[in-house]
């Protein structure tokens, strides 16, 4: 169900927002996706090697 909501939100953004409910927590699917993307970028920024320029020793 959540996957369907996520795909729908990705495909059609021109309509009312989709929301997830968990107890008293309510958050839009768009915000969940954004937070997930931020976590992915954060982890990637730590793990992905940084290319150094040629001749740079320090």
């Amino acid at each position: 169900m959540m996957i369907v909501l996520v795909i729908r939100a990705l495909v059609n953004l021109n309509g009312p927002g989709h929301y997830l409910h968990w107890g008293f927590i309510q958050i839009s699917v768009a915000n969940v996706l954004l937070i997930a993307l931020m976590v992915v970028v954060f982890v990637g920024a730590i793990l992905i090697p940084f290319r150094r320029g040629k001749g740079r020793n320090r």
Partner: protein, 233 residues
């Protein structure tokens, strides 16, 4: 202040003008921020990681926010609501704000897990956190200034919370003119000023080095920062 009558040669520290506030302020500024520290040619080796690029990405996003905001202010609401170019610049303004917060939060996470307040960098950390909070207010007043159903909904939903805090007496979210002025004058001034102080503190104290992993202390050199100081005040 004396009137200069001679040639504008370099003034010595012991010259007759050395006690003036201008000379003292200049000496203090140069001592605190020598040019090679303000604009260094190289960075410490430990900065060779993607996690260190999110500060400058946040700065670039802020520059775009300010630039597009200036264009919107110059052209006015009719232009940004009715013309295609205006709508495009309005969207640029929105999405640069999105990018600003996206990069700033990752920057914040990175610095939090590095404990970036170490090494007498408290003011760097505090100015960053306060800038983040003020930025939330700047974005909030921006949402209130959209002049659409979204802004009406947000303002009517927010007024109860603001009133409950007691701030409603001077900060009325239903007052469009006041929210617009806060959005385009007061809050940007504070955000830009605090960002300036934050960057200057980064230049003064240096980028915080990562934690030394036990057993890896010999191979790594986390203290290679030229401005790594504990007692530099």
């Amino acid at each position: 202040m004396s009137i200069e009558t001679g040639s504008p040669g370099p003034q010595t520290h012991a010259g007759p003008d050395s006690r003036q506030w201008t000379a003292r302020a200049r000496k203090a500024a140069v001592a605190a921020f020598p040019p090679e520290r303000l604009l260094p040619d190289r960075q410490p080796a430990y900065m060779a990681s993607w996690i260190y690029v999110f500060g400058i990405l946040t700065l670039v996003s802020l520059a775009w926010v300010i630039l597009t905001g200036c264009v919107l202010a110059i052209m006015g609401p009719t232009w940004w609501h009715m013309s295609t170019v205006g709508l495009f610049v309005n969207s640029l303004h929105l999405w640069s704000v999105e990018a600003f917060f996206f990069f700033m939060v990752i920057h914040l996470w990175g610095k939090f897990f590095m404990a970036a307040w170490r090494g007498n960098r408290r003011l760097t950390w505090i100015t960053g956190v306060v800038t983040f909070v003020i930025s939330v207010g700047a974005a909030f007043t921006g949402y209130l200034s959209q002049q659409n159903f979204d802004s009406q909904w947000i303002s009517t939903q927010a007024k109860d919370g603001i009133n409950a805090s007691g701030a409603g007496a001077i900060f009325n979210v239903l007052n469009f003119g006041q929210m617009l002025m806060w959005h385009i004058v007061l809050l940007p001034l504070v955000v830009v000023a605090l960002t300036g102080v934050h960057v200057l503190m980064v230049r003064r104290r240096g980028i915080v080095p990562p934690f030394v992993v036990e057993g890896d202390a010999a191979s790594s050199a986390p203290n290679s920062s030229p401005v790594e100081t504990e007692d530099d005040s």
